[in-house]
């Protein structure tokens, strides 16, 4: 670059000089790939088991035969009408929540910045319950309300946190405050509702994938097919944002603008998932941190995080359906909540000890 200068040209690119770099990179990538492979295999096993186990159990050959289109009438009904839609919905919302959480936590550089902690999914719930109980809306309009609720809540947090730019911890603190507000609103709406309506509204308090139907799944999958490639395009910028705004800016990334774009994508993902299954607690919150701890290379680990999200959602739904005593079927959100709460305690206890709380 600085021509006409004695030592301006870097030392001749010998294979030798770059060898340690290439080796370090290869090891880093190999580690992440290996983890992705293991997680994918686990997810496959969980998926197969959740298709086979139930009141009417299928063997592995039964399942394979049915999936290949050779099943009996009852087998087809059980797999394609009951279990597969539910599994597919669980997988898709697992992906959406996990990616959403990973984006929030990365661009706000705070492990507490997750749509379920800062009131984004709570805003969706409150709006949906308002639509259901007060406005008497149908299911599609209620889902639209949920989506709008999440968007409005995030916009409000963003504007309240804005001070010539958005800083992670301020965004999180305001978000936690907003989360309490929407919880209060939810409680008020439910206490005024009559019993039958309140039962309907319960889905908006604790998420569940039990009501899965193919047309809804198709809509959700279509939205993700647009959003996820967008996230992929922005991933390079996200890697620079990991280094702090100043470094990102000096590397040519417009930090504030990139953060806003990534937040919009993150909210859209969380809002969509919530609109279809309600607030499945803590999946967004725990997936990326678990994945990053497993990978441990400072990588964004979006793919491992996605697979963790899928695993948690599918295992939680399977547990809620089959593993609890007394043939009691619970919404999956209760199980994810039971996993997430101890993690939150652990995070708060350890983060402050090493002085990275903010």
């Amino acid at each position: 670059m600085s021509g006409g200068l004695r030592a301006s040209v870097p030392p001749a690119p010998t294979a030798d000089a770059a060898a340690p770099l290439v080796l370090a990179r290869t090891l880093t990538h190999r580690r992440e790939r290996r983890i992705v492979l293991v997680l994918a295999l686990l997810a496959l096993v969980v998926a197969a088991v959740s298709l086979m186990v139930g009141a009417y159990s299928l063997s592995v050959p039964d399942l394979l035969r049915t999936l290949a289109g050779q099943g009996s009438g009852s087998e087809n009904f059980i797999v394609f009408k009951l279990r597969l839609p539910r599994l597919t919905l669980a997988i898709i919302v697992g992906v959406a929540f996990a990616v959403s959480g990973a984006l929030f936590q990365t661009v706000l550089r705070n492990p507490l910045a997750s749509p379920d902690i800062i009131g984004v999914t709570g805003g969706a719930s409150a709006a949906a319950v308002f639509g259901l109980l007060v406005l008497g809306l149908g299911s599609v309009a209620t889902s639209a309300m949920a989506f709008a609720g999440a968007m409005i809540v995030t916009a409000a947090i963003y504007l309240l946190a804005w001070r010539g730019g958005v800083v992670g911890y301020r965004f999180v603190l305001i978000g936690v405050g907003v989360a309490f507000m929407v919880q209060g609103l939810l409680g008020y709406l439910l206490s005024r509702a009559d019993l039958r309506n309140a039962q309907d509204a319960l889905t908006w308090l604790v998420g569940s994938v039990s009501g899965a139907r193919w047309p809804e799944i198709a809509v959700l999958a279509g939205c993700l097919a647009v959003l996820l490639p967008g996230v992929g395009v922005l991933a390079g910028r996200m890697r620079m944002l990991q280094l702090g705004d100043d470094t990102a800016n000096s590397l040519g990334v417009r930090a504030e603008r990139s953060r806003l774009a990534l937040l919009v994508a993150a909210v859209a993902l969380a809002a969509l998932a919530t609109a279809f299954v309600g607030p499945l607690a803590f999946i967004a919150f725990v997936s990326a941190p678990i994945a990053r701890r497993l990978v441990g290379t400072g990588s964004l680990a979006l793919l491992p995080a996605t697979l963790i999200g899928v695993l948690i959602t599918t295992v939680a739904d399977f547990t809620a359906q089959h593993l609890l005593p007394g043939s009691l079927e619970l919404p999956a959100g209760i199980i994810t909540g039971a996993i997430g709460a101890p993690y939150l305690l652990w995070l708060l206890a350890t983060q402050n000890r090493i002085g990275k709380g903010a």
Partner: protein, 297 residues
């Protein structure tokens, strides 16, 4: 600007005499840097608070410029303004005569690099990965990682003596090693102008000298223009070609350390009574503070 060039040549000559045969020939560094970074009537601040006030400064290409001043004198703010991290409240920062905020951010990033005071390393990140991220502005939609990038990153790591750290993680390193890795990342960006905000803070004196020697070497061997904020006046005086002393958001004095560092300037900028003597190692001015309890002989 004939005068600054002469001064830089003088300084370079002094440095060459002091540093021995490895230093560049007199005049050569000043001729090398090509990009001109200039602040004109620049005012900077946060939330209507004015911290830097109508300041004019031309960074001399190919020289090492050190900005010093008391706390809250606006030196870090000025550096952030020069690196376009802070939009001007008034005035402008220009790069080769063009408003830096109007230029594409990535294009500026290939010319001007900044190492913030406390850069953030993602948890678990490896040294090679971190330094490689400095290549970001040179990559585009269709231009991905290549062997040229590898060669440049390897050269940056060799220059900072961090190549052997490549397989390690950032959190395993000492403060001095970590700072060298960050500088390697800034070098991988291949900027013609490198801005550093207190690159020696949190380092013990050995590592401070090590980092400043590295920047000196970089300036002399690659012709990189270096602009940095330093706390330590004596290290500033030793390593600077040009010294900028700030006081209350304005430039109090500017020139070679020998011209600028007088007892009067130190008193006015820092409110500190001091004696100035010649540094026995290189002849640069050495500030000896007086304080309340000791009387000069």
């Amino acid at each position: 600007m004939p005068q600054p060039t002469d001064q830089a040549a003088d300084t370079a000559a002094t440095n060459a005499a002091a540093a021995g045969p490895t230093a560049a020939a007199p005049g050569e560094p000043a001729a090398s840097g090509r990009h001109e970074l200039t602040a004109t009537g620049l005012s900077l601040g946060y939330d209507g608070n004015r911290i830097v006030d109508a300041l004019d400064l031309a960074i001399e290409p190919g020289a090492v410029t050190v900005i010093v001043g008391a706390n809250a004198s606006g030196k870090s703010t000025l550096l952030r303004g020069l690196a376009r991290l802070l939009p001007p409240q008034a005035g402008a920062v220009t790069l080769d005569g063009r408003d830096i905020t109007a230029l594409p951010s990535r294009q500026v990033a290939t010319i001007v690099g900044l190492l913030p005071q406390q850069p953030i390393a993602p948890e678990g990140i490896g040294v090679a990965d971190l330094v490689g991220r400095g290549r970001y502005p040179h990559q585009g939609w269709f231009r991905h990682w290549s062997s040229t990038d590898d060669a440049i990153v390897a050269a940056a790591m060799a220059a900072t003596d961090t190549l052997k750290l490549a397989p390690r993680r950032m959190e395993e390193l000492s403060g001095g090693q970590r700072q060298r890795v960050w500088i390697a990342m800034a070098l991988a960006q291949k900027p013609d102008l490198l801005l550093l905000d207190e690159p020696t803070t949190f380092l013990d004196v050995t590592h401070q000298v090590e980092v400043l020697d590295l920047l000196h070497e970089l300036n002399h061997q690659q012709g990189t223009t270096v602009v940095m904020v330093l706390h330590d006046l004596n290290l500033a005086a030793r390593y600077a070609d040009r010294l900028v002393v700030m006081r209350q958001g304005r430039i109090l004095a500017e020139g070679t350390p020998a011209e600028v560092l007088t007892e009067a300037v130190v008193l006015e900028a820092f409110g500190l009574r001091a004696r100035i003597i010649a540094d026995p190692v290189c002849g640069a001015p050495l500030v000896v503070p007086i304080g309340r309890f000791h009387r000069p002989a």
